[in-house]
């Protein structure tokens, strides 16, 4: 009993700290607590706890007055084609930190059940000219604000959402591959044959409703796949698989409207990060307005050569174990 109440207190405190991020539900909860305090200021005896209100003053209240608010998981209903309201997802990739560990790619391949021979997330060995330094560059779907792929799709199978995501409805795709021709980032992959995920990867599809929000779940023959920014993770309040898998904190994921991005360890101001480290976007001249930003590979802590150990020019997806 004692134990569980402590736990609930901790959850509540946790919420209080998170209140700076201000989920609408959280602030409502606090207001409710405050009104209860006013009502029975001479309340029962027992443990009191200290809380900080939104304006920064500390207050003491009786622990019995504290209610637990359930985690706000997927409480907001939204149209899959419209996207999550009032969000705008961005990613920042810090090239200075990448040493081609490829954990991002392995995690992505695993969680999207990729059976083809072309990964959705690739780490390119880049070198602009012979005289400039080589570096590793992870690349995924740029979720452009002016996506060329969406413009050319004849059936609205690939679409752009208000929250920035470019997703694919694999039930609608006719397999014309025009989007692949249109994408300048070579990010789209095609299911040339039956993916057979259930057999080679033991994919469990029981109780799963296929959705554009989870690419590769399942993949369909004759349709296009690509990085989806993992909305199935976002709705669980978790970060995309590549972000959490990276041992070097290369990927920062976040919300442009909140102006914050996090790599799971540190949370930073998005705009400040880009300013401080001279962030840029790929093929800016084409006007595609990508939502993936890169930080230049300067002041690197690791040697480029260290990454060569894992580099395989001709393979990005490990063939499944037989």
């Amino acid at each position: 009993m004692e134990d569980s109440s402590k736990k609930s207190r901790r959850t509540f405190l946790n919420k209080g700290v998170k209140a700076t991020l201000l989920t609408a539900l959280g602030s409502l909860g606090l207001a409710k607590v405050a009104s209860k305090i006013n009502a029975n200021s001479s309340g029962s005896l027992g443990d009191t706890i200290e809380l900080m209100t939104t304006d920064g003053t500390l207050i003491q209240i009786d622990s019995t007055e504290v209610e637990t608010i359930p985690e706000p998981t997927k409480t907001i209903e939204y149209d899959v084609r419209e996207g999550m309201p009032n969000r705008k997802f961005v990613m920042v990739v810090d090239l200075a930190k990448c040493k081609n560990a490829l954990k991002c790619q392995q995690s992505c391949n695993k969680h999207h059940y990729i059976t083809g021979e072309n990964a959705w997330l690739k780490v390119y060995e880049m070198q602009e000219t012979q005289d400039t330094a080589p570096y590793w560059m992870p690349s995924m779907c740029m979720h452009c604000d002016k996506p060329a792929c969406v413009t050319v799709c004849p059936v609205d199978a690939t679409f752009k959402r208000r929250d920035g995501l470019v997703l694919i409805d694999n039930d609608r795709c006719i397999g014309c591959r025009f989007c692949m021709a249109a994408c300048p980032y070579s990010t789209r992959v095609f299911n040339w044959s039956e993916p057979k995920q259930e057999f080679t990867l033991n994919m469990d599809m029981i109780n799963h409703h296929p959705s554009p929000e989870h690419g590769g779940m399942p993949s369909q023959i004759g349709t296009v796949d690509k990085c989806d920014f993992c909305p199935h993770q976002i709705t669980k309040n978790e970060l995309p698989h590549c972000v959490t898998a990276c041992p070097n904190g290369v990927f920062y994921f976040g919300d442009k409207y909140e102006d914050t991005v996090t790599n799971g360890e540190e949370t930073l101001r998005f705009s400040q990060l880009l300013k401080d480290k001279s962030g840029y976007r790929m093929l800016e001249g084409l006007g595609t307005e990508p939502n993936v930003y890169y930080l230049p590979p300067t002041d690197r802590l690791v040697e480029f050569e260290d990454g060569l150990e894992f580099y395989n020019e001709f393979q990005s997806v490990e063939s499944p174990k037989k």
Binding site: V155, D156, G175
Partner: protein, 438 residues
């Protein structure tokens, strides 16, 4: 009347001889092989092709572009020559109309072969999005098919009526079919007026629609960012290329039909000479747009353009590029400038070279560009960096070409390849001129 009977004997439908039968069986065999390959592609998926994520389009698309281009012959020869009152067109307009119909139908089928999910064809209509160039194609190709069919059909009406009469006793069943097709044509002044007005309208319609068709075909490529496609020159480049492909196929088909049906009295050296000039004009216009397309990017030599052009000029695609440019375009154009170069036999060789060049040209427009994306090609099997069609692709592509030839063969077999009534009218006019002049 006797004159018309002899015309029907020369120009009307005739049973195949042995050569014709062997030819038809051969074509059917190729088509069947292609259908089997296509069914296998449906079952296994496009894994059976050699297309992959980088070479995401291949021979199907280039073959499609070739068919679309060839169908332009309906607009250029038939409509333009008619509207400009060039009477030397009479003996071969029907063949041109037949080629246009066969090619545009096969273009429509070929693009569907490239679709990986033909079972979802209906999505193109129920979920159509107007900003996609593919939707423009979905609109323009059926339109062009209909107009091409009308352009073939309308001028046929009097001939169908003649054939109905001709076969009334010998083949009553066939006569009935021709009778139905003739829509009760009696040759009355009202009917003649309606018919010529109808043809006039179709001829005026088919020119802009033909140009739009070629333009949209070019835009399929030039609406992307890809180096080698992202060119404002592309639409006129494709239109002039279609002019070349159409007229050269026409010359080749005319030669064969004339030989097989023994029409030397109707399609004379004079007509070949005219066609030769026409083809030369087409080739020189196309050469002009080729210069724009290749030499100007080579002049500024932006890095990506330079890499792309390098593979064409000196790299992996140097052989097809120079073959297409020199043997398939420059040399024929120059030879056609001389009178001796416009003799039927020479023209057959030249036109076949130009047709081959036109077909291969589309291949080197599609493939090399796809193999030079903006990002380096990494993390995929080495074989994905090159493209050469697989056996399935060759069989299926061969079948589409054979099917086009089969349609042409079928129509040439059952329709008067040269308008009978029109030829008779023209002969009468000439006779009248002769009798009144001296």
């Amino acid at each position: 009347m006797a004159a018309i009977e002899s015309l029907i004997k020369d120009l009307g439908p005739k049973k195949f001889d042995l050569r014709g039968k062997v030819w038809t069986v051969l074509l059917i065999a190729v088509v069947v092989a292609g259908i089997i390959a296509y069914i296998d592609q449906l079952i296994q998926g496009q894994k059976v092709t050699n297309m992959r994520d980088y070479a995401l389009w291949g021979i199907y698309i280039s073959n499609f572009v070739f068919f679309v281009a060839t169908s332009f012959v309906g607009s250029v020869t038939v409509a333009i020559l008619r509207l400009t009152n060039n009477s030397w067109r009479t003996p071969f307009v029907r063949i041109a109309e037949i080629i246009a119909v066969a090619s545009i139908i096969m273009a429509g089928i070929t693009i569907m072969i490239d679709m990986a999910r033909p079972d979802r064809l209906i999505n193109l209509f129920v979920h159509a999005r107007l900003q996609s160039p593919i939707t423009w194609d979905v609109i323009i190709i059926p339109t062009y098919i209909v107009i091409s069919l009308l352009l073939l059909y309308f001028p046929l009406l009097p001939d169908f009526a003649l054939l109905k009469k001709h076969f009334a006793l010998s083949k009553p069943k066939l006569s009935k079919i021709y009778g139905r097709l003739s829509l009760n044509w009696s040759g009355s002044p009202v009917q003649k007026m309606l018919q010529s007005r109808g043809i006039q309208i179709i001829c005026i319609l088919i020119i802009p629609i033909g140009i739009i068709l070629q333009t949209i075909d070019a835009w399929l490529f030039s609406t992307t960012y890809r180096v080698g496609w992202d060119s404002t020159n592309f639409a006129p480049y494709f239109i002039s290329g279609a002019f070349v492909a159409g007229v050269s196929s026409l010359v080749a088909v005319i030669y064969v039909v004339r030989k097989v049906k023994k029409l030397e009295n109707y399609i004379t050296n004079f007509h070949f000479d005219k066609m030769g000039r026409f083809l030369a004009l087409a080739c020189f216009i196309y050469i002009y747009f080729n210069i724009n397309e290749y030499l100007i990017p080579a002049f500024t030599s932006k890095k990506a353009e330079a890499v792309h052009l390098e593979t064409l000029f000196r790299g992996d695609y140097a052989f097809p590029f120079w073959f297409v440019t020199i043997v398939g375009l420059l040399i024929p154009a120059v030879i056609l400038l001389f009178k001796a170069g416009r003799k039927p036999k020479t023209m057959l060789v030249l036109s076949l070279l130009v047709v081959l060049g036109s077909w291969w040209k589309r291949y080197i427009i599609v493939t090399p560009t796809l193999l030079h994306p903006f990002y380096p090609i990494q993390g995929v099997p080495e074989s994905w960096r090159t493209y050469f069609p697989s056996l399935h692709e060759w069989l299926i592509t061969g079948a589409t070409l054979a099917m086009a030839l089969l349609i042409i063969t079928f129509l040439v077999r059952h329709l008067p390849v040269i308008p009978i009534q029109r030829t008779a009218d023209e002969q009468m006019q000439q006779d009248e001129l002769k009798t009144t002049e001296p």
